[in-house]
């Protein structure tokens, strides 16, 4: 077994040839990336030009690629201050002597974050055929396989996740394809709960939740914590996928008492003008919508530079659009990078002297904020009544202080912190009925899943997660990824390896553990396309509870 972070002396894999990278703009950081054409590992530079951040790499065979990395240099620099490497993995599945990200993910010795959220693909069949989706089985294509791991395979994956050290995985997302197409979905959920996983999230387009009002009750009873609902916009034009169905799916979740996270994939020029409206929609449903998690599009497959420039949007661009589209109610200052919450983890670790769940992803991968709503319907970001930066700093300082204390002195520090918490909150500006100090107190003292749940029930979390593609790929981000895939060969693969290089990971695994479409159809006595949704709701079918977005 490895001790954490024994990677200090690990060498980087030497690539065959090094090429010169043309310098243009101020180089901020040097990293490694891959060639979008041949996947060759390349040196890369992150640099600033015209107040934006770009990545540039040069393949000896396929030439130079330059791509927008982050839409604001100011925000990049602000967020980089929260960079914290994680604890690493004590028991990696793939022992390596030299670091070769992303060649042998699984997790390897050199991975720096434990699993924050583990995806399990329960099927790659889908009832929709969205043009930009890279994930569903496309009948007729060469090498089209149906991938549906068995219950036993899924159990083994879950056990592997729970065996991860120093922090056991405790959060699973069932994904697809469309996971509700699995007839044994309820059994899968129950089995995962039996294995002791606290958080089970279901990633869905919501079609079946809309069509079958009982489904939400069944999955809630089985143990699903929340629905991760694809939701690309508030008009039929921006959200042809489930504009008519999402409201009904949400209503059915409301009746079943199951929280919903709206997940818009943001594409420049297509739906980036509706980010504010999506938040307003979530606000209207704040009793059941827990979060909106914006995902700037990952440009998969080969794409010409002009097309990439047309569709590419990054986290700062979305933050700016949200500020504009909410009339400044959610300013850019309200956002913090995901690793900014590591001081809270470090404080609790210092208190308990046990390794805890830590969101140590790369600062450029994700950002978030919490908003509340006041009586007039205005959105109140947490930063308008909490000195978030000051609180983070304070916890950071106290975590350090706790490390050097023992016995009663440790409790003195803890009491001091508890008494001080309220001073970071402006109670006059705090939304009515909210006792944030108490909620924070519970998180720190009880530091359990239910305390965090209470926080999320009272607020609306706004998140951003920018998954990579071959053009903006940064191996330093992959190395710190905490959103992983569990696979039947008992590996744990970072999201941006699994999906960015499908020929090495996703497609290979699905082929190995899947069966040809024809064989699946013969086995199940149905055609793949039989389950494709034909849009009956948009064609006029309705029920009493159907209320559209507009």
């Amino acid at each position: 077994m490895n001790s954490p972070l024994q990677v200090v002396k690990m060498a980087l894999l030497e690539t065959r040839e090094r090429t010169q990278i043309r310098t243009d703009g101020e180089v901020i950081r040097r990293t490694q990336s891959i060639c979008p054409e041949c996947n060759r590992l390349l040196d890369a530079e992150i640099f600033e030009r015209d107040s934006k951040i770009y990545i540039r790499k040069n393949c000896p065979e396929h030439g130079e690629v330059e791509e927008l990395y982050y839409g604001s240099a100011t925000l990049y620099k602000k967020f980089s201050a929260y960079w914290r490497d994680g604890k690493g993995i004590e028991n990696p599945n793939v022992p390596v002597d030299s670091c070769a990200c992303p060649l042998n993910c699984g997790l390897c010795t050199n991975h720096l974050s434990h699993t924050g959220l583990a995806n399990i693909i329960v099927t790659n069949r889908c009832d929709l055929t969205c043009w930009y989706c890279f994930f569903y089985v496309k009948k007729g294509l060469e090498g089209a396989y149906v991938y549906e791991p068995t219950l036993e395979q899924i159990r083994a994956m879950v056990r592997m996740l729970k065996a991860e050290r120093p922090v056991a995985g405790n959060s699973i997302q069932l994904t697809g394809g469309e996971p509700t197409l699995r007839s044994d979905l309820i059994e899968i959920i129950k089995m995962i709960k039996e294995e002791g996983v606290d958080h089970v999230q279901l990633n869905t387009n919501g079609i079946n939740l809309a069509l079958d009002p009982e489904l939400a009750f069944r999955i809630k009873e089985a143990g699903v914590s929340n629905i991760y609902l694809s939701f690309d916009g508030v008009t039929p034009r921006t959200n042809p996928k489930n504009y008519w169905e999402a409201p009904l799916a949400i209503e059915n979740c409301r009746r079943a008492g199951i929280g919903v996270v709206l997940v818009p994939t943001v594409i420049k020029g297509l739906n980036d003008h509706e980010l504010g409206a999506i938040i307003r929609y979530a606000q209207k449903n704040i009793d059941i919508v827990r979060a909106v998690n914006f995902q700037p599009v990952s440009l998969t497959g080969r794409m010409a530079k002009q097309d990439r420039e047309r569709y590419r949007i990054t986290i700062p661009d979305c933050i700016k659009a949200i500020e504009e589209q909410t009339d400044g109610e959610i300013p850019k200052e309200a956002w913090f990078p995901v690793p900014s919450c590591t001081p809270l983890t470090h404080f609790i670790e210092a208190l308990t002297r046990k390794p805890k769940y830590e969101l140590s992803i790369h600062f450029a991968c994700g950002a978030g904020t919490y908003v509340f709503t006041d009586e007039s319907g205005k959105l109140i970001p947490i930063t308008s009544f909490v000195d978030v930066k000051g609180l983070i700093e304070y916890l950071d300082e106290k975590a350090e202080e706790l490390k050097s204390k023992s016995g009663v002195k440790r409790y003195k520090v803890m009491v001091e912190v508890m008494l001080k918490l309220g001073s970071f909150i402006d109670k006059a500006k705090q939304p009515k009925g909210l006792n944030l100090a108490k909620m924070l107190f519970n998180i720190i003292v009880r530091h359990d899943y239910s305390s965090v749940g209470e926080w999320h029930r009272r607020s609306l979390f706004l998140g951003m997660m920018h998954f990579q593609d071959k053009y903006n790929h940064d191996a330093e981000r992959v190395q710190r990824c905490d959103i992983h895939y569990l696979t039947p060969d008992l590996r744990i693969i970072p999201f941006c390896s699994f999906n960015v290089i499908p020929e090495w990971y996703r497609d290979r695994i699905q082929k190995k553990y899947g069966i040809p479409v024809e064989e699946w159809e013969k086995m199940h006595g149905e055609k793949i396309e039989d389950k494709v949704y034909r849009g009956i709701l948009r064609k006029g079918w309705s029920c009493n509870n159907c209320t559209n977005v507009s």
């Binding site: 200090v8 914290r84 604890k87």
Partner: protein, 185 residues
């Protein structure tokens, strides 16, 4: 424990060296802004322990960030031997140790320094790290009215403190500057 390992008493040897403490003007009106420039550096054991070896050892133990806090109190003389605090500022700087894929650098563990304004920069040498983390040029800005009319003897108390890390125990160092005289009219 750290000191036993290294066989030295680190904190006793860490000290602050004041390079200068000056006012940009000797006289100012009540409504005028007074700017006092203070520069100092932390020298001795703390500075010396920021070596690549110690940084790597810290990283190995998931000791990935180091914060150093300066508390500066500007004091004015109110009685012959008594001084009263007229301004207090707290400055926090951090060194963040991270695993880098920059092949132009021999070691994998690099350091990013976050300054008191939240700005961050990756340092390319230990000298640069020492300088960015432990050398300070501070401007104390106040209006004449904060001091009041009359002749004032001012000095600064500077305290620097840090926490326990794999390469150093928690500790602090402090110093008081030489007094300067300003007149507010």
């Amino acid at each position: 424990m750290v000191n036993q390992l290294l066989g030295k008493d680190a904190n006793a040897k860490t000290r602050i060296e004041v390079l200068s403490f000056k006012s940009t003007t000797q006289e100012a009106r009540l409504d005028e802004t007074l700017r006092l420039n203070l520069s100092y550096r932390v020298i001795g054991e703390l500075r010396e322990r920021f070596t690549q070896q110690h940084i790597e050892e810290a990283y190995r133990n998931h000791d990935v960030d180091f914060r150093v806090t300066s508390i500066i109190e500007l004091r004015k003389r109110v009685l012959r031997f008594a001084f009263k605090c007229v301004k207090r500022i707290k400055i926090v700087r951090k060194a963040i140790f991270y695993w880098s894929r920059d092949r132009s650098y021999a070691s994998r563990i690099r350091v990013m320094v976050v300054d008191e304004y939240g700005g961050s920069s990756v340092v390319d040498s230990l000298e640069r790290l020492h300088s960015k983390l432990l050398d300070y040029i501070i401007a104390l800005v106040l209006t004449g009215s904060e001091l009041g009319r009359g002749e004032h003897i001012l000095r600064c108390n500077v305290k620097v403190k840090w926490g326990t890390h794999t390469f150093i125990e928690q500790g602090e160092a402090s110093i008081t500057t030489q007094p300067i005289k300003v007149v507010i009219f």
